[in-house]
């Protein structure tokens, strides 16, 4: 592992709604080292995508109301819009869930993939296209020179996601943020894209933040994982440790609630009862406590901070911070 590339400190992003301010990201802190893959997992509305958008300063209409995003020592929350435009695409690239809506339907794919080269490297159209074709080949598009002339609708879903990845990589960024990159794809295509992301990470040394709701994808892809719930980080640590000994009841229950392909016998699933809370009406104390089977009296009163639990993990839980092991029938 290399040095710290990106450090997020106490990030807070708020959306104004009719029902009051929604704290979509509520004090999130983490770091990303050079060359590593960090997973961010959580359900819809937990703040994982808004965290990524805030790093890129694309959180609008939300507002960043606190915290820092340090990239190479520079605070991106204070950077000007033109500085951000330099950083986006050049230093930090982002790919999205739906490659159809994130590619422009009226421009040829090769033109779009070459855009970062024209904008950030100042190369001419011919060189940009050549760079795009080379990168399309590297991400596994067959006959890239011909396909570069196609429009996005002529590509399949998996090919469009490859084109998006190619666009992100043309300027060899240091950080790639992939927000649910395979959620819209079929499993066999998902396997292709995940394999490509691993190759990119290995060959270009690109540090990757992989945002997903799929615990299986995290298990296979990420060295470290961070679990979010209702706008906050509830647990983080090395993936093997978090999966083997979760230190937050949400992680613990989530891992036990999903059916596993390799299950030997049929056992009833153990669901998490209740619903994820509404961000406009969060419970007092720990946001997970109404659904938690380990809760103690304090959990409905005070909000726990993310603190070290065990050797390698951080967890925001009064129960495990007091030394109690999570166990159950």
């Amino acid at each position: 592992m290399g040095h710290t590339l990106l450090e997020v400190q106490d990030l807070r992003t708020v959306f104004k709604t009719k029902e009051g301010d929604v704290k979509a990201v509520d004090g999130v802190s983490f770091h990303l080292d050079a060359g590593e893959t960090l997973g961010i997992v959580g359900e819809s509305g937990c703040g994982k995508s808004v965290t990524a958008m805030s790093i890129m300063r694309l959180q609008r209409p939300g507002r960043i109301v606190g915290g820092k995003v340090l990239f190479n020592g520079r605070d991106l929350t204070k950077a000007s819009e033109s500085e951000m435009r330099e950083i986006r695409g050049q230093d930090i690239a982002m790919i999205f869930q739906d490659p159809m809506t994130s590619l422009n339907p009226v421009f040829r794919t090769g033109w779009q993939v070459g855009e970062p080269l024209r904008l950030h490297r100042g190369v001419d159209n011919v060189k940009a296209l050549a760079g795009a074709v080379a990168m399309l080949g590297k991400v596994g598009i067959p006959s890239p020179a011909e396909r570069a002339h196609d429009y996005p609708h002529q590509f399949s879903g998996g090919m469009r996601q490859r084109a998006m990845i190619a666009m992100g990589l043309t300027t060899t960024p240091k950080v790639l943020i992939a927000d649910e990159p395979t959620t819209a794809l079929d499993v066999t295509i998902q396997a292709q894209i995940l394999d490509l992301l691993q190759t990119v990470n290995r060959e270009f040394g690109t540090a990757t933040i992989l945002i997903t709701h799929n615990l299986g994808v995290v298990a296979g892809m990420c060295e470290r994982v961070m679990v979010m719930y209702a706008g906050r980080v509830v647990e983080s640590g090395p993936t093997t440790d978090v999966f083997a000994h979760p230190k937050h009841p949400y992680t613990w229950s989530l891992l036990r609630s999903i059916p596993r392909l390799d299950a030997e016998r049929h056992e009833p699933l153990r669901p998490i009862e209740g619903l994820p809370p509404s961000l406009t009406d969060l419970p007092r104390g720990c946001a997970f406590h109404p659904r938690c089977s380990f809760k103690v009296e304090r959990c409905s009163r005070d909000t726990p901070e993310l603190n070290r639990v065990g050797e390698t993990q951080l967890a925001a839980c009064w129960v495990t911070q007091s030394g109690t092991e999570l166990k159950g029938a």
Partner: protein, 339 residues
């Protein structure tokens, strides 16, 4: 299905006659083009399927988007008129039933849909949504109807007082419970569950799976459970059928399918599904398929999977492999099966 395989299956299920059986089933949709909107081709969504669903079992149906699994579910329910083949329900040929006769038969069937947001009428109260099938089939009136709606809400784990509320007041998981209550209103014996949990949050999915299992044993239901997530399908199903480009390529009990897949497509599908365990994941070998699924308008000759198959040989392009028996309850359609 070749005669030998069918005979072997019959032997395995001598005690049970199929509740539903489809043979040689095809469902093609016309593709129109030009000023005159002439039919220029067909989307062969379901293209020769043999399948039998035993009373009380859950048959899982998996495949990637566009493989025809939803169309198959709708065709066996006779929501479409099949292009070819037959559908038998409780031994009766329902392939050509129409009007009142079809409506009567269909009372025993119900469907649960993927999107709990789109499948409930936003202007109807929950009570009216659940009451609609009761009215259509004239099952109950007045006080009795009301009691039935309350009872159904209770059965799916919802407060009967919610009958007066509207769908938008509920979360995705609760809406799916309403959809399930509506499906149960006709007291069906057979339910097609079409991706019933894929639109739900991870922590809610297990609640709905457990509910479906509970209802199955309580009301003796038979399910056709359609989904793309093989982990979920394996969990809930007795047997799993794998579909590729309009064809069933393999059928087997879930555990057996996982331990010993015979069709190369099943093998790569299984290897592509991530297991939420970092240590196991690290040791797994992935068979990464090249390319994309072929077109159902113009499917490849012979075996439809051959264009992506790592084991394909020239013979695979010339002849279509039939479903053959590999052991008691295991069928696969491949000339060069996995060991």
């Amino acid at each position: 299905m070749p005669e030998t395989a069918r005979a072997q299956l019959k032997k395995a299920w001598t005690s049970a006659d199929p509740l539903l059986a489809a043979h040689g089933l095809k469902m093609w949709f016309p593709v129109a083009s030009g000023v005159l909107q002439r039919t220029v081709a067909h989307v062969r969504a379901v293209d020769g399927v043999d399948i039998e669903i035993m009373k009380g079992e859950t048959l899982g149906l998996v495949g990637e988007s566009g493989c025809g699994k939803s169309t198959l579910g709708r065709t066996v329910m006779r929501l479409y008129d099949p292009t070819a083949g037959t559908v038998h329900f409780k031994g009766e040929d329902i392939t050509n039933l129409r009007g009142e006769a079809l409506r009567t038969r269909r009372r025993e069937m119900a469907m649960i849909f993927q999107d709990p947001y789109a499948s409930l009428d936003p202007r109807q109260t929950v009570g009216d949504i659940i009451g609609e099938p009761i009215d259509i089939h004239g099952l109950a009136k007045g006080r009795e109807r009301q009691d039935r709606i309350y009872e159904l809400l209770n059965v799916v784990g919802m407060n009967p007082q919610f009958a007066d509320r509207y769908p938008h007041e509920f979360s995705g998981g609760q809406r799916q419970r309403i959809g399930i209550a509506r499906a149960l209103a006709v007291e069906p014996t057979f339910i097609v569950c079409d991706e019933p949990i894929s639109a739900l949050d991870v922590s809610i999915q297990a609640q709905i799976i457990n509910l479906l299992e509970k209802l199955q044993s309580k009301f003796n239901l038979t399910y056709l459970f359609i989904a793309h997530d093989l982990s979920v399908v394996k969990h809930i199903s007795n047997r799993v059928a794998v579909m590729y480009l309009g064809k069933i390529v393999e059928v087997a009990p879930g555990g057996q399918l996982y331990r010993r897949p015979r069709h190369p497509y099943t093998g790569s599908l299984l290897s592509a599904i991530p297991i939420p365990d970092p240590i196991i994941e690290r040791g797994r070998e992935r068979v990464i398929l090249q390319g994309d699924v072929g077109s159902p308008v113009n499917p490849p000759s012979g075996c439809r999977f051959r264009t992506r198959c790592p084991r394909a040989r020239p013979h695979c392009a010339e002849e279509e492999p039939p479903l053959e028996a590999f052991g008691a309850e295991h069928l696969a359609a491949c000339f060069y099966p996995l060991d």
